[in-house]
């Protein structure tokens, strides 16, 4: 059988020349008008890059925050409403805290998304855990942002 096929193939090939070209066969993976629109994006690539870039910035922001809050000037003893009011009187620390809030929440949410995707095997479990995660993340980011922008040292 294989001998016959080979001979037939050879015969076919001999029939094609400049005046009688072989039919064009589209490459299997070529995009045509009938190819469904791709649902793939570079989201995971940008997520991966965001984790590294935000991580480097967060090393500075978070370690600075821990140094001020828990190490310098008596550690946790000094923390209270007056201390917060003193720090948020400066736009520098407001921006610091706002940037830290957004980057840390998005960095943490993306990290937890990865953990959920890795360990929650059932589709339903994964969906609900991520819905819970996204809801908590949006709520926390918005609440924190609102608190920084509307802080009133003379609330009493």
């Amino acid at each position: 059988m294989s001998t016959e096929t080979t001979e037939a193939g050879t015969d076919d090939a001999r029939r094609y020349d400049v005046d009688n070209p072989a039919p064009l066969i589209t490459a299997p993976r070529a995009r045509t008008a009938r190819t469904p629109k791709s649902t793939r994006t570079n989201f995971e690539l940008y997520g991966w890059l965001f984790m590294r870039l935000s991580g480097i910035v967060l090393v500075v922001l978070v370690l600075g925050h821990l140094l001020i809050q828990l190490v310098l000037d008596g550690g946790v003893s000094k923390i209270g409403f007056a201390f917060v009011a003193g720090r948020w009187a400066s736009p520098f620390w407001q921006v610091w805290d706002l940037l830290m809030l957004w980057l840390a929440m998005l960095h943490g949410a993306n990290g937890l998304r990865t953990v959920i995707n890795d360990y929650a095997e059932r589709d339903g479990t994964r969906l609900w855990l991520k819905m819970l995660l996204y809801t908590a993340t949006v709520f926390t980011v918005l609440l924190g942002t609102l608190v920084i922008f509307t802080f009133d040292p003379n609330i009493r």
């Binding site: 480097i56 370690l63 946790v76």
Partner: protein
């Protein structure tokens, strides 16, 4: 090593496990921490009463644990960046992990008194 597993043990896997565990713990703390800070919008008294919880011996000790988790996650995160972006990163990943652990140990020793001084003072006098 069991066949067909991605879990290969040693420095590479255990630093990855520790990075996940500390990351999840820090995220849960961050959630609580934004909520407690939001109490500054309620009243100074409410905020100060809640912050008083952070000054109890048990929670103060947990803050030392938080510092431990954050320091490891930060230093090991820089190691992950080096593994991904430095051409020799993968080759030196073990040496970098032990460097991370060394720096972590020094910083944890240095943070012991400053972070826990509130509790140490209240338990053992001035």
């Amino acid at each position: 090593m069991p066949a067909g597993t991605l879990y290969r043990g040693r420095e590479g896997m255990w630093s990855w496990v520790a990075h996940r565990v500390t990351g999840v713990l820090i995220f849960f703390f961050l959630f609580v921490h934004v909520l407690d800070t939001a109490l500054v919008r309620v009243s100074p008294e409410t905020y100060d009463e809640t912050v008083a919880i952070y000054k109890t011996p048990l929670v103060n000790l947990m803050e030392y644990g938080l510092v431990a988790a954050v320091l490891f996650h930060a230093l090991n995160g820089l190691r992950v960046v080096a593994v991904d972006f430095w051409s020799k990163g993968a080759k030196y990943q073990k040496q970098m992990l032990w460097t991370v652990m060394g720096i972590w140990g020094v910083l944890m020793a240095g943070a012991f008194y400053p972070v826990l001084q509130h509790t140490l003072r209240s338990l053992f006098g001035s």
